[in-house]
C-alpha cells in the first residue's frame, strides 16, 4: 500500500521492530531551529498515528474490520527532543464496542528515556 501525502511529509513508517512506528527526521520537523528540537505537533502526530495503527492491528487480530477515527489525544512532553529519528510504540488500554483507549510512548535514543507519552481515544466505526 502506497504512503499517503501526510505519511510522506511526516516520513512515518513502521520501524524495524514490528510493533513500533518511526518518523525519520526531516528539517521541516523542527519546532525550534535554534536548539534543533522537533515540533511538539510532530511528536503529537506520531503518537496519534501510532495509536491508530496499533489499534488497527489489534482489531485485525480479533478479526474485526473497522474504520478508525482518532477523537482525542492527550500528550505529556517529558523531555526535550533533538534532530534525530523518533520512535513510538502503542498499547491497548481497552477496546470497547464503539471506542478504544490507547497508550503510546515515544522516544529517540532509548525506549527507557521517553520524550513523550500519549493517551488517545479512538472511535470505532464498524464496516
Amino acid at each position: 500500500m502506497s504512503a499517503s501525502p501526510a505519511e510522506t511529509w511526516f516520513a512515518v513508517a513502521p520501524a524495524e521492530e514490528g510493533d513500533c512506528w518511526k518518523i525519520a527526521f526531516q528539517e521541516h520537523h523542527l519546532g525550534n531551529p535554534l536548539i534543533r528540537s522537533i515540533h511538539g505537533g510532530v511528536v503529537g502526530a506520531l503518537i496519534e498515528h501510532t495509536a491508530e495503527k496499533a489499534l488497527d492491528r489489534a482489531l485485525a487480530e480479533k478479526s474485526r474490520s473497522a474504520k478508525l477515527e482518532l477523537t482525542t489525544s492527550s500528550i505529556d512532553y517529558l523531555r526535550v527532543t533533538k534532530d534525530s529519528d523518533l520512535y513510538a510504540r502503542g498499547s491497548v488500554m481497552r477496546i470497547a464496542r464503539r471506542v478504544a483507549f490507547m497508550d503510546v510512548i515515544c522516544w529517540q535514543d532509548s525506549e527507557d528515556l521517553p520524550v513523550a507519552r500519549g493517551a488517545c481515544t479512538l472511535r470505532i466505526l464498524e464496516e
Partner: protein, 174 residues
C-alpha cells in the same frame, strides 16, 4: 513570506522609505515564528490578522501535503495538532513582557472532524493565565461556518533552557 503581507506598515515601507517601517519588533511573536526562516512554518499559508497580546488568531489553509485519506482528501490529525501547538505557544509568547524560551508540557486535542485539503480554517488561541512559570492556554480551530474542527487545552513551561540537548552534560527537560 508571511510577516510583510500581514503588516500594512511593511507594505507601505516597500513603496516609500519615508513612510513608517514595520520592524520585527512590531510583529506579534507568532508572526516572527511563522516567518520565512522557519523550516516548518514557512510551508503553510497563514494570516495572523487580529493577533494581539495573549490572543492569537489565524486563518490557515489546510495543505494538500498533509492529506491522510486520499479518497476523502481529508487531513492527518497531526495538522490540527501542529497548528494548535504553534498558535497556543504564540499566545503564551504574546502574553510575556519579555521573550524567553518556552516549552509545551502538556497538550490535549479533541479532533471533531478531519478538514479537507484547501479548506481555510480559523484558529484562535488564548493564554488564559500564567502561574508559577506555567502558562495555561486554550485553542480551537473552526471552519468557515464557525463549526469547531478541533479544540485544545495546553500547558507551557516558561523560561526553559535555550541550549541544545547536545550541549548539556546531563539529560533533562523542563
Amino acid at each position: 513570506m508571511l510577516p510583510p503581507s500581514n503588516c500594512p506598515d511593511l507594505r507601505q515601507a516597500s513603496t516609500s522609505i519615508r513612510e513608517k517601517r514595520c520592524t520585527m519588533a512590531d510583529l506579534h511573536p507568532i508572526q516572527v515564528f511563522f516567518s520565512s526562516y522557519h523550516p516548518l512554518a514557512n510551508r503553510v499559508r497563514a494570516d495572523f490578522s487580529g493577533s494581539a497580546g495573549n490572543t492569537v488568531r489565524v486563518a490557515i489553509e489546510a495543505p494538500a501535503d498533509l492529506v491522510q485519506d486520499t479518497e476523502a482528501a481529508s487531513l492527518h490529525t497531526g495538522f490540527a495538532t501542529i497548528v494548535l501547538d504553534s498558535i497556543m505557544g504564540g499566545a503564551v509568547m504574546g502574553s510575556l513582557e519579555k521573550l524567553v524560551p518556552i516549552a509545551t508540557v502538556g497538550l490535549s486535542v479533541s479532533h471533531l472532524r478531519r478538514p479537507a485539503a484547501g479548506e481555510t480554517l480559523h484558529g484562535e488561541a488564548v493564554c488564559v493565565s500564567v502561574y508559577n512559570s506555567l502558562a495555561y492556554v486554550t485553542g480551537e480551530l473552526r471552519d468557515k461556518n464557525e463549526e469547531p474542527v478541533a479544540i485544545a487545552t495546553g500547558t507551557f513551561m516558561i523560561g526553559t533552557r535555550a541550549t541544545s540537548i547536545r550541549d548539556r552534560s546531563e539529560e533533562s527537560r523542563i
